[in-house]
Symmetry: C2
Subunit: 196 residues, 2 copies
Amino acid sequence: MDVRTLCLGALMGGEASGYEIRKMFEDGTYSHFQMASLGSIYPALTRLTQDGMVTFVEKEQENRPDKKVYQLTSEGRRSFLRGLLQTRPGEDRYRSDILFMLTFAEELPVELTEALLDEMEARQEIALAQIDPDRKRDDTSCGIYGREENGDLKPGCKFVSGLGEAMYRATLDFIRKNKTALIDDLRARRNNHKSR
Amino acid sequence: MDVRTLCLGALMGGEASGYEIRKMFEDGTYSHFQMASLGSIYPALTRLTQDGMVTFVEKEQENRPDKKVYQLTSEGRRSFLRGLLQTRPGEDRYRSDILFMLTFAEELPVELTEALLDEMEARQEIALAQIDPDRKRDDTSCGIYGREENGDLKPGCKFVSGLGEAMYRATLDFIRKNKTALIDDLRARRNNHKSR
DNA sequence: GACTGCATGTAACCGGTTACATGATTCG
DNA sequence: CGAATCATGTAACCGGTTACATGCAGTC
């Protein structure tokens, strides 16, 4: 799924600037399962404008730089949805340097393993914390797709964020339950090696 | 984490050919949290050979093409471990086209949403099935890191595969528990729109 | 007969990241 | 006084994917 499609999707929730779109992929709903950086978003928006998928209005702001607020055209909206119908979704891919490193825990200093586990635990906590507030109705963030008039999440979004929460929870639980056992195991093996 | 490092890691479990390394990232232990394609593995192995990190022996086979079996040099082993000590692991990233699409469930035909959910469920099942056999002692696959003399998984690997299992389980559970609710919700909304 | 698995390798291409350029404002 | 946030944009670079090239053996 390329950045152009991602931008169209981001604009399904209403108007947004390039900077704001990045936020959606950095901290917002999409951050958990997609990503896009500014260096790719801006060119994508330019091309989408040329192709008539989006239009923009320059908005002046006080004490802030001006911004270009983009909006889907009806053609853009149709094209996005049509695209989804034809796309066969790519495989989910999860990439984790930490897990790869942990694979070699026996060869690493126990302190590093511990640090890696702590790091991973912390990251999951942050991610979880990022999902929960997204559900609150008093969220003032603008134009993020999925919020209905009454403040509820749309069913699709509710499902997706619920799934994210479940995954982070499961990961966190597992780490907490097995961290000490792993460390102890590793320590015990070190001692065996020494004493032999 | 680049393919060169990944290859070194793959060879920590013993000798392997480029083709076999790909299998580790396609179906094996690593497949769940890293990936590498042949088009990147072969050049990586060539460079690693030039740099003295690995050596290879050409092995003739019956009814099969010859293969180059690569092995870590002591320098390669040291260099890999040193690298891990210095690396600060990149953030875990999970990318999922399906979840992105599900975000727009309300705008899509209910049948597509159903198909997406089924697809996702099936993928999780396959992934789970791929982890479990990895644990069996009678696994004959060669040179995959983490297997000890007695057939047990090394502690780090056990942890990682356990974590993978927990994640897939949680995802699968969530999908199964919430799939029908989502579909029903979407159907109900369609009817409301019609009747209005 | 067609497709899949085994096996290696090259190269074009493409997409995205990273870094640079610029600049005002606010916060610690 | 730095650092971070807001805000846009360009471009070099790089890494990896995809596709191509080749060929034999076994299976459906």
